[in-house]
């Protein structure tokens, strides 16, 4: 998750972690034990906990908050 703080605390000083806000990330690959490597719209990678969503596959779009996917979003074109 190194380097990810710039997204969590946005350029306008908005801390999405403190604000209970989530954002979209796309699954790149499944990792061991409930984790997946995901990428956000800006192309930044992070290791995300995916235990709370059903079996995910690369390309799935997730709603992520504080490092955890809390929902799967409907399929759509690449962002």
């Amino acid at each position: 998750m190194t380097g990810y703080h710039s997204t969590a605390c946005g350029a306008d000083g908005h801390c999405i972690t403190c604000s209970d806000e989530a954002f979209e990330m796309r699954v790149v690959e499944s990792l061991a034990t409930g984790l997946a490597r995901c990428t956000d719209a800006g192309g930044r990678d992070a290791e995300i906990e995916v235990t709370l969503v059903d079996d995910i596959v690369p390309g799935d779009l997730l709603l992520v908050h504080a490092g955890v996917a809390i929902a799967r979003l409907p399929a759509k074109d690449a962002p």
Partner: protein, 371 residues
């Protein structure tokens, strides 16, 4: 970008604005509370309130996790953070919330090992890397964030990590809403419900609002058109004399939430008998603490914490702002003694706090009005 551009389309915004104007009855004043601080931020950042008729008033609610943390809990955090064996971790905005004798950021400047993390999982990683130190995570937030803390605690327990602890301040959204609805000094016509909290808990927990209090609720997304459409849906219910829970954010929020997340929350946490909210006082069964099965990871049980209730500074009117009784600019210290750079009250700390959001985006419009 999909799911973003179409919810920020100016043409659609103007069309919705015209529909709202056509819906409202002149001579009637509508007071609608957006519960979530994320919505407050969207409203000010995108000027959503400028697209509403003068008789539609948006009131900013208590759904900003940082804003509702009372000073006494910050003092508790600082007392733990100052312990030499502790690496204290928390989210970014939390570091700037004033306690009775300073902030976590100031404690860090004075030598305490305080580190900002994006996720409790980052704090757990620090625990793995520093087996000879105690790593304490200061958990804040509503049901959106609580699953992240819960899963981290489950991982810590499963891995047998013995130097990771949680100072839990998680809160739940329904009790403060009920407290607001019971408040005699507040007259609200309807609610914009919290979108991401509802991803976890669903829309069902809000059914008490129409059922017991006769007010409409619309669960809303966070893009400007989401908020605008949700305001329209609330107003339409009012004009048609209906009150029910509607879900504008169907692309994300299932009516019953995320059952797996709710299971994890039920396993790791239990309700406190009562918890203090900034500006709202003690609200029964509104805060979470670690369940007995996770007590060995509970920082409150590991360290002596002062646990003293500290009254808000007299000049600060965060309580009235959080209840929507006054607007941010009506507070005596708004923008003068209290600014985002040097906040007195919590509402000025976090950018989704009503005061900071208004300070950052709305005050210029008001200055134009005053001139």
């Amino acid at each position: 970008m999909k799911f973003v551009d179409e919810y920020r389309d100016a043409e659609l915004g103007r069309a919705l604005s015209a529909q709202i104007l056509a819906t409202v009855e002149s001579g009637r004043h509508y007071k609608v509370m957006e519960v979530c601080g994320g919505h407050t931020h969207t409203i000010y950042k995108y000027g959503v309130d400028d697209l509403l008729p003068a008789n539609v008033e948006l009131v900013h609610g208590p759904g900003c996790p940082v804003c509702v943390i009372p000073m006494g809990r910050v003092d508790d955090a600082i007392s733990v953070a100052r312990r030499p064996e502790v690496i204290f971790t928390c989210f970014g905005d939390m570091m700037r919330v004033p306690g009775s004798s300073g902030t976590l950021l100031e404690a860090k400047a004075e030598g305490a090992d305080v580190r900002m993390v994006y996720s409790p999982l980052d704090a757990l990683r620090i625990a793995r890397q520093n087996p000879d130190r105690d790593i304490v995570f200061f958990a804040i937030g509503f049901e959106t964030t609580a699953p992240s803390t819960a899963l981290t605690l489950k991982r810590a327990k499963a891995e047998g990590i013995r130097n990771f602890f949680c100072l839990c301040n998680h809160v739940t959204i329904v009790p403060p809403l009920r407290a607001l609805l019971e408040s005699p000094d507040l007259r609200l016509d309807g609610f914009i419900g919290p979108g991401h909290v509802s991803t976890v808990v669903g829309a069902r927990p809000f059914e008490f609002i129409p059922k017991d209090y006769g007010k409409p609720v619309v669960i809303a997304g966070f893009e400007p058109l989401d908020v605008l459409q949700s305001v329209h849906m609330v107003l339409r219910q009012l004009v048609e004399d209906r009150c029910e829970v509607e879900n504008q954010y169907t692309r994300v929020v299932p009516y019953d939430g995320n059952p797996r997340a709710l299971e994890v929350l039920a396993e790791v946490f239990e309700l406190r008998p009562h918890f203090e909210w900034r500006g709202l006082g003690f609200i029964s069964q509104s805060g979470l603490r670690l369940s007995p099965a996770y007590s060995e990871l509970d920082a409150e049980l590991r360290y002596p914490v002062p646990g003293i209730r500290v009254a808000d500074p007299k000049a600060c009117q965060c309580g009235e702002v959080l209840k929507g009784v006054i607007k941010p600019w009506e507070c005596k210290v708004f923008g003068t003694a209290c600014t985002p750079e040097r906040p007195i009250g919590t509402c000025m700390v976090s950018s989704e706090g009503a005061c900071a959001a208004y300070y950052n985006y709305g005050r210029f419009a008001r200055e134009r009005e005053v001139v």
